[in-house]
């Protein structure tokens, strides 16, 4: 019994070592990165795997930052070929890539994603400005008396901020700091909302850290609740508690349109059309980045790019729009399809 176990273990190790040899060649595309782009990239990958003769790419949701870190690790089969990102690559990340030998990167913008504030359909929709959202959710807010000081957020109900808003306690469920959605919300809502105060706007130019300190600190007294990365959980909680609001990507609102309604931000309802033509203010572009050195080394990258940038995928009526992606204008699509076709190098 015992001896047999040893033999089996030895055999397995041998098989494993044999596998190492095989691992030197990879025949599928490895994609990492943003969990916001994940639902779109996976749809394209699945289609690509089914209709082409190539294997289906493997896709991991590591977050935008985590994905770029893996992507920039170097050139070779053990590093991913493509990384998804819900924000543009930073100069520091490009430098990191270059330092590790990843010199040529192709940037493809795939469309837009709206971030929505939504609540249960059982209550009336809210119409709120970004300034009011900032006042509702920031840990410290400018002194209402007008001095250039911050005070701990005193507001308990929406009514306290604006008499036109309902007299309900402020209760917002949102993503944790590791999420790209949170990053985008900070930038597009909290920072822009804060900038409505002239002295904070001036501070933003003078002292970036102090500015971020004010705009990026969320309330910790229960008005803002970090609900984890699982957006479905937020949807469920909103159903149970009609007075609460949730922050998540547009696709979740789209899929749950029978239960949830989007809050109007600066008077704009978060609809497909409003996000597509840029009227809805809280939207961000989505990207993916391709390692040029891997094209030709890993089979199918060019074909995958071709599928992703085709009109039937990301066009106005493409299958990605069914999944909630908001397409770019036609001209932009043509530009990025050309970039993908000729593998143009990224320029910041």
């Amino acid at each position: 019994m015992f001896k047999r176990g040893v033999i089996v273990a030895g055999a397995c190790l041998l098989v494993a070592m044999g596998g190492v040899g095989l691992a030197q060649a990879r025949d599928y595309i490895s994609i990492v990165g943003s969990s916001t782009v994940y639902p779109f990239a996976t749809v394209v990958a699945e289609k690509f795997g089914r209709i082409s003769s190539f294997k289906t790419p493997a896709i991991e949701a590591t977050g935008s930052g985590g994905g770029l870190k893996l992507f920039c690790g170097g050139v070779g089969v053990q590093y991913p070929d493509i990384t998804n990102s819900s924000r543009r690559i930073k100069a520091s990340e490009v430098k990191n890539c270059n330092d590790n030998g990843v010199k040529q990167i192709v940037e493809i913008k795939i469309g837009y994603d709206g971030i929505v504030l939504a609540n249960s359909k059982k209550t009336v929709p809210l119409n709120i400005s970004r300034k009011e959202l900032f006042l509702a959710l920031a840990k410290n807010i400018p002194d209402p008396k007008g001095s250039e000081m911050v005070i701990p957020n005193p507001y308990k109900t929406w009514h306290d901020i604006n008499p036109a808003l309902p007299d309900n306690a402020i209760e917002v469920l949102g993503p944790p700091p590791t999420s790209g959605t949170r990053d985008a919300f900070m930038e597009l809502v909290m920072e822009d909302g804060g900038k409505e105060f002239p002295w904070i706007k001036a501070l933003g130019k003078k002292d970036k850290n102090a500015f971020k300190q004010i705009c990026h600190s969320m309330r910790e007294d229960g008005a803002f609740i970090e609900a984890g990365e699982n957006d479905n959980l937020i949807v469920q909680k909103l159903e149970v508690n009609p007075k609460a609001f949730g922050i998540f990507g547009f696709s979740y609102l789209d899929q749950n349109s029978d239960k949830l309604q989007g809050t109007l931000v600066d008077g704009e309802e978060p609809t497909f059309e409003a996000i597509a033509d840029g009227k809805y203010p809280v939207s961000r572009p989505l990207f993916f980045y391709v390692k040029k050195a891997h094209v030709g080394m890993i089979p199918g990258i060019k074909e995958f790019l071709n599928e992703f940038t085709s009109e039937k995928a990301w066009g106005d009526e493409g299958y990605l729009t069914d999944k909630g992606l908001i397409p770019m204008p036609k001209a932009e699509r043509v530009k990025f399809r050309n970039d993908a076709g000729s593998l143009n190098n990224l320029s910041l």
Partner: protein, 427 residues
């Protein structure tokens, strides 16, 4: 016996009797608490199973729609089926079904009622039987997940149009199908035979299941012999000194280390240093081996310690060497306990997602893994990924996957009990 002695005896008995009621009451109380504890844990279990089963059972069925498909010669490339327009075949069939529908937008809405999987199904049919080309057949194709949810009663048919995933027009089309008996629910084979998909109606657990089997097989094949050898060495052969004590303390500590740490270790050692392929069951198995080893070693040592010393003395006294003593007498007696420890370790490994996250096994993988180095995922990971998907139809599939995981666990544990009973010496 004198009167005084009698008196004393009576007094003792009286005292004992007085205390008796209290002693029995304490026992009854304890029994009651025990019973309450059991009832509470059972009801939680029933609640858990009830929720999972009531949510998940519907995923074992899937809505199918009957289409009259004409395998048009003009649209099929006999030599290269991948080049054929099977989407066109489906659209044509839908068009014949509802000839009154015109206009781009309406047609899009109509075609959205059947799954994109219909296209792959027709492609498969033609590639297995090219004789179909040129004929017209009745084919049951999977319906879209929104239709599926509607048929299963998870989505409502009434209320404002904007509140629903399907509008009035689509409901009318489905109503026509229902009247003609062209829409029905049947067993969801795809759930058990296909890999992951972003379309709920096409998504299956087979890929994750195979990934789990490969990963666990490697884990078992490595951790069982290594763990048992280590425990035997530590228990029977290792000298008692500081170094061995240190090893012992470390093993006990490792058993309590959060599993994510093993994932980080796996990333650093197996992927970054040895360059083993990311997302592969090979790396997953190695990481889970590291994780389960301490559990197996601790359990195995405990069961070695429980072998009576008289058996060891008997073997040594007759002139058996230490190795013979262990192999012939101690190991057979300790094996059932070792198996139990191994199963506990394996069950823990089966439910892990955290260490797999770091080594890339938490990923969207469609193809069924066919070796230890192809990318794979595992059952708990699949549950996690589906739970996070926006499509409503994944809710029931998540519960169904949990059911499969539970079934797997039950099978594994029963196997362990059978094995243990076979090895157990009953004398």
């Amino acid at each position: 016996m004198s009167d005084i002695d009698m008196d004393k005896t009576n007094k003792t008995i009286d005292t004992v009797k007085r205390g008796l009621a209290r002693r029995y009451a304490a026992e009854r109380r304890f029994r009651l608490f025990g019973l309450i504890a059991i009832v509470i844990s059972l009801s939680f279990l029933v609640l858990l199973f009830g929720t999972v089963i009531s949510k998940g059972y519907s995923a074992f069925q899937q809505t199918f729609v009957q289409l009259e498909v004409t395998f048009d010669r003009a649209m099929i490339d006999r030599d290269n089926p991948a080049n054929s327009d099977f989407g066109g075949l489906v659209k044509a069939a839908m068009g014949r079904e509802f000839p009154e529908v015109s206009g781009r937008k309406d047609k899009r809405k109509l075609n959205g009622l059947v799954s994109t999987g219909a296209v792959y199904q027709l492609q498969d049919m033609v590639s297995t039987d090219p004789g179909l080309i040129g004929t017209t057949n009745l084919v049951w194709v999977p319906a879209d997940d929104d239709v599926d949810m509607l048929m299963k009663g998870h989505a409502k048919r009434t209320g404002a149009e904007s509140d629903r995933r399907l509008d009035d027009q689509q409901l009318a089309w489905i109503g026509k199908w229902e009247q003609e008996g062209k829409i029905r629910k049947q067993f969801n084979r795809a759930f058990f035979t296909s890999g992951d998909s972003r379309e709920p109606e096409l998504a299956g657990i087979w890929g994750a299941f195979v990934g789990t089997i490969l990963t666990l097989a490697l884990t078992l094949a490595l951790s069982f012999p290594i763990g048992i050898s280590a425990s035997i060495y530590l228990e029977e052969f290792a000298p008692r000194n500081r170094f061995v004590d240190l090893v012992e303390v470390n093993i006990n500590n490792l058993a309590a280390v959060p599993s994510i740490v093993f994932g980080l270790l796996g990333l650093a050692v197996f992927i970054n240093f040895f360059h083993l392929p990311r997302s592969s069951p090979l790396v997953g198995g190695l990481v889970l081996t590291l994780m389960t080893l301490p559990t197996i070693i601790i359990a195995s040592r405990a069961s070695l310690q429980s072998v009576p010393p008289s058996i060891r003395e008997a073997a040594l006294g007759i002139g058996a060497s230490k190795m013979q003593m262990v192999n012939h007498h101690v190991l057979p007696l300790a094996l059932p306990g070792m198996l139990t420890g191994t199963i506990i370790g394996m069950a823990r490994a089966l439910g892990e997602t955290a260490p797999l996250l770091m080594i890339g096994m938490v990923a969207f993988i469609v193809d069924i893994p066919d070796s230890f180095v192809t990318p794979a995922t595992a059952l708990p990971v699949q549950i996690f990924l589906w739970a996070d998907s926006p499509e409503r139809a994944f809710v029931e599939r998540t519960s169904a996957a949990i059911l499969v995981l539970l079934a797997f666990l039950v099978v594994m544990n029963s196997l362990a009990v059978i094995l243990r009973n076979r090895f157990e010496r009953r004398w």
